[in-house]
């Protein structure tokens, strides 16, 4: 079956512009996670969805970051008024349920803010 997909794979934008990143989880997976990985760094948790609800959004770095999930499936991460420090790889993962279930990752979106 299809894995987690993300689009776009690469995004170059100018400082101050808004960007939207999309994640299509594995079909049937109720949990969805967004992470950020800066160059050579570990994974930084951003937000967790269970269905369409986000019980844990503690990792969103500022109010410029928001995310939504619709239909218990596709999720969109939006970054408003992008800054250069937002440049990173944004990774999406899904799992059958939250908690201890194995997370399966997409290929990521590489964001470069000029």
């Amino acid at each position: 079956g299809a894995g987690v997909s993300q689009s776009p794979s690469n995004k170059v934008t100018e400082k101050g512009k808004d960007v939207e990143l999309r994640c299509d989880p594995i079909s049937g997976h109720t949990a969805l996670y967004w992470y950020r990985q800066s160059l050579g760094q570990g994974l930084e948790f951003l937000i967790y969805f269970q269905g369409n609800s986000a019980p844990d959004k503690s990792g969103l770095p500022s109010d410029r970051f928001s995310a939504e999930r619709t239909g218990g499936s596709v999720s969109t991460l939006t970054i408003q008024r992008t800054q250069q420090e937002d440049s990173a790889v944004y990774l999406c993962a899904s799992s059958l349920a939250g908690g201890p279930e194995t997370q399966y990752f997409g290929p990521g979106t590489r964001l470069l803010v000029l």
Binding site: Q41, G42, D56, V89, P100, Q103, F105, P107, G108
Partner: protein
């Protein structure tokens, strides 16, 4: 508090050497899960193994083996007869029953040289 420590930042070995990647975790939960993921240069995180806290049996999968020791709170990963294709960043992660997200180590970058 939940924490995962991967003390080895970078390891370099010559092909066919055995190599062990260390992972030490902290949690007060009695039920928890431990994971290893591989991130090759292509960037996509690949799930390797999931182990629950009640199963201390060592696991072997081909050239890969995992040693789980609750007494030392460690979940170490050994690659036998390493190959160049094993070059990647390896992440250890913890999921405790009291939280909904994975706690990640900072990763160990493994370089296997021909």
């Amino acid at each position: 508090a939940q924490k995962v420590t991967q003390a080895q930042t970078e390891i370099s070995v010559v092909e066919k050497e055995d190599v062990t990647l260390d992972c030490v975790y902290e949690t007060r939960d009695t039920t928890y899960y431990l994971f290893w993921y591989k991130q090759p240069p292509s960037g996509e995180l690949v799930f390797l193994i999931r182990r629950n806290s009640f199963d201390e049996q060592n696991e072997i999968s081909g050239r890969y083996s995992w040693n789980f020791q609750k007494s030392t709170s460690s979940f170490n990963f050994t690659i036998t007869a390493s190959q160049v294709v094993d070059s990647a960043v390896y992440f250890c992660a913890l999921s405790a029953s009291s939280i909904s997200k994975l706690i990640w180590g900072l990763g160990t970058s493994l370089a296997v040289n021909p």
